[in-house]
């Protein structure tokens, strides 16, 4: 195995290497992380968007388990468990409760540009992210390095989600999705990061979720909407 890819026998010398089951599974899960983010970007309703985030987080937790199994990194089981509890359960519950309390589903997709343009821009950004990270020729002991390109694409699309959508829930979900992209990058680059540091990152995310929730409530309390179009008073 070299960088998560099986070395093939002499009969196939010269042909592209065949990915191992591990590499194929890992890449498939990484791509699932990116695809769910595209779905989040074009989701008009906020509740499905939150469910998509939970699905994306589930994929990230699964990826951590895949790395833990294949590379015998016991700490990653703990990380996957904490990550699952926080990102698949707690965060979606917190955001869904916010939506229930405010009763504001918005109904139509609120964005700075149309859906089709948004997806096209996201495609271009993810292509750029993928090839930019791929061009670094980073080798990883834990995952196929193509997963790093996918992580780069996920991070850029998360930025677009925050910039192009104009409601507080999508913007908060965009930040949480950014963290998922970084989690994938972390699994590629730093799977052996001390568990205490990883848990500190996740604890920090939990605190951020609480603060985002509080401020979103404050925003809704003052404006009676989750939309951010009204946030234009402070300029100059």
């Amino acid at each position: 195995m070299v960088g998560g890819v099986a070395v093939v026998g002499p009969l196939m010398a010269g042909a592209p290497p065949v990915p191992s089951t591990f590499a194929g599974a890992a890449e498939a899960v990484a791509v699932a992380v990116l695809l769910t983010e595209f779905a989040m970007l074009r989701s008009a309703l906020l509740r499905p968007q939150v469910r998509l985030y939970a699905l994306q987080s589930l994929a990230v937790s699964t990826l951590a388990v895949v790395v833990a199994v294949s590379r015998h990194l016991g700490d990653l089981y703990v990380l996957a468990g904490v990550s699952f509890a926080l990102k698949v359960v707690v965060i979606p519950v917190v955001v869904t409760r916010l939506l229930r309390e405010t009763g504001d589903e918005l109904g139509t997709l609120r964005g700075r540009i149309g859906v089709a343009t948004m997806v096209l821009v996201a495609l271009a950004a993810s292509g750029f992210g993928f090839f930019a990270f791929d061009s670094l020729h980073i080798t990883s002991r834990s995952l196929p390095t193509s997963a790093l390109g996918v992580a780069g694409a996920t991070i850029l699309v998360a930025f677009l989600l925050v910039i192009l959508r104009t409601d507080v829930v999508s913007q908060a979900v965009g930040f949480f999705a950014l963290e998922n992209g970084i989690s994938v990058a972390s699994l590629v680059l730093a799977a052996s990061l001390p568990i205490i540091v990883e848990v500190a990152f996740l604890f920090d995310l939990l605190v951020a979720v609480v603060v985002f929730g509080l401020l979103a409530r404050v925003h809704h309390g003052r404006t009676r909407t989750l939309a951010t179009d009204v946030l234009g008073r402070l300029r100059g």
Binding site: E179, S192, L193, V197
Partner: protein, 482 residues
């Protein structure tokens, strides 16, 4: 001692959460003073050796202590100012008071922690905590402006810190090329191995770090949250945000700068800082001239000074690096003093709109003149510390091959000076309007301002020997070793 530095503000936060206003105020002042005393006690020791605690998870070298002193001093004077500014009944309720004082102490704790934790991942965690706590403090007044500023702040700063987290991960990967796949990401092993880090990966980590932590530092073009948050937060929070938090974020960048200069040589790290620094200084100088909101004016002045810090680090001369570190201390004292004066004006005139403020010096017999002096200090007038630090930065720049940058710096600082002095002449030194009631809002406010200006005079006229030694050693830690 490091454990005490960490524990005191945290205990103060917990006590304030359950206390009545008077007790919370007393605890906050005591905690600020004690933390400042502990930080100053570290100055002498840090000039000769590195302090450690908690099995190496806490570490204070000279660079850490410079930023710790700036943060702790600001914590102390802000605590004193807050007693006068908030009064005996802040926000009209005990609930507000408890939230405010607990938040203020927790915010100071997070900033203090950032300066003494050992390693890039924990540094990131501490700075992220500063974001979430300070965002709640920005929103605490529950106005339309505060709500908008807090949302923009938490969103933009968190996205920036997301980039900084990626930088942390990428730098960990760079370290693993020399230290093995699993290692404790403390500073010392990283600094020891940095010269063999893969250049391309280190370059990526460094740029991501400058962009990410630069968002918190207020570097242009990722500064957009800063004027809103500084102007809408309660004034004690504005002072801490501007004088301390921006500095702590700069400290994080310097930690990456240390690694990058060892791995890549000095040219690339300096060029990156130069680009952000020039952009920040140009934009701030232009915006300073057009501000009508007193606190936004000071916010843009902060962007200007962060630009000066970044440009100063881009100069090769050691005197410029010394000047940058001195500037961190002097800017913290000057900006806090100016915000305290602005708070006094806001309380007196019930507005931040400079067009509606006239006769500031006449109506505020102490804090009015002190605010004018603070503005002059921010404009790099002698005998204050910023004059000395900017003089050293420019002197370093003129000895650099890129001396045109030093000349541009002088021009842009002069532009900023014009913006600030316009404010002083229009609002503070204008004739007193009819029926003006003379008197201070509270004696605590000028007391805090006197402490800030006193520190500025000391930094400008006679730098204490131990502090000078500390700054020299910290500048040495930032020097290129290759």
């Amino acid at each position: 001692m490091l454990i005490a530095v960490l524990a005191v503000p945290l205990v103060a936060a917990l006590v304030s959460w359950r206390s009545r206003t008077r007790l919370a105020q007393a605890v906050t002042v005591a905690s600020g003073t004690a933390t400042c005393g502990l930080a100053l006690a570290l100055v002498g020791a840090a000039g000769s050796h590195v302090a450690r605690a908690l099995h190496g998870w806490l570490r204070a070298d000279a660079l850490s202590v410079v930023f710790l002193v700036a943060t702790a001093f600001l914590y102390a004077v802000t605590a004193v100012f807050t007693v006068g500014y908030m009064g005996p009944d802040p926000g009209g309720s005990l609930r507000y008071s408890r939230r405010f004082y607990a938040g203020l102490n927790l915010f100071a704790w997070a900033m203090v922690t950032a300066t003494i934790v050992n390693g890039l991942p924990l540094l990131w965690v501490a700075i992220e905590v500063t974001t979430v706590v300070s965002a709640l403090l920005v929103a605490i007044d529950d106005t339309d402006g505060a709500s908008e500023a807090a949302w923009k702040y938490v969103l933009i700063a968190s996205m920036g810190l997301g980039i900084a987290l990626l930088a942390t991960v990428v730098m960990y990967y760079a370290g693993s090329s020399q230290l093995g796949p699993a290692y404790q990401p403390f500073y010392e092993p990283l600094l020891g191995a940095a010269r063999h880090f893969p250049p391309q990966v280190t370059r990526l980590a460094y740029v991501l770090a400058v962009l990410g932590f630069g968002t918190k530092m207020g570097l242009v073009p990722v500064h957009t949250w800063l004027p809103d948050a500084h102007s809408e937060a309660p004034t004690p929070v504005s002072a801490l945000l501007s004088g301390s938090l921006l500095g702590v974020s700069f400290y994080a960048i310097l930690r990456y700068y240390q690694l990058a200069t060892r791995a890549l040589g000095p040219a690339f790290p300096r060029d990156v800082l130069l680009a952000f620094g020039v952009a920040s200084l140009v934009l701030a100088a232009l915006y300073l001239a057009s501000q009508r909101d007193l606190k936004r004016l000071l916010a843009y002045s902060s962007i200007e000074h962060m630009g000066i810090l970044a440009i100063g680090m881009s100069f090769a001369a050691p005197i410029a690096t010394f000047g940058v570190l001195l500037h961190v201390l002097a800017h913290a004292a000057a900006k806090a003093t100016a915000f305290f004066g602005a708070g006094s004006v806001v309380r007196k005139f019930h507005t931040k709109d400079m067009d509606q403020v006239r006769g500031g010096v006449g109506s505020l017999p102490w804090s009015g003149p002190l605010l004018v002096l603070a503005v002059l200090a921010l404009s790099a007038m002698p005998p204050f510390g910023i004059f000395r630090s900017e003089f050293m930065i420019v002197a370093g720049g003129l000895s650099d091959p890129r001396d045109a940058v030093a000349a541009a710096l002088v021009v842009l600082v002069t532009l900023a000076f014009l913006g600030l002095t316009w404010f002083a002449s229009q609002t503070m030194l204008s004739p007193d309007p009819e029926g003006l009631v003379t008197g201070e809002v509270s004696a605590w406010i000028p007391a805090a301002m006197l402490a800030g200006l006193g520190a500025l005079v000391v930094l400008g006229v006679h730098l204490p020997g131990q502090l000078a030694h500390l700054l020299t050693r910290a500048a040495g830690e930032l020097g290129t070793v290759r």
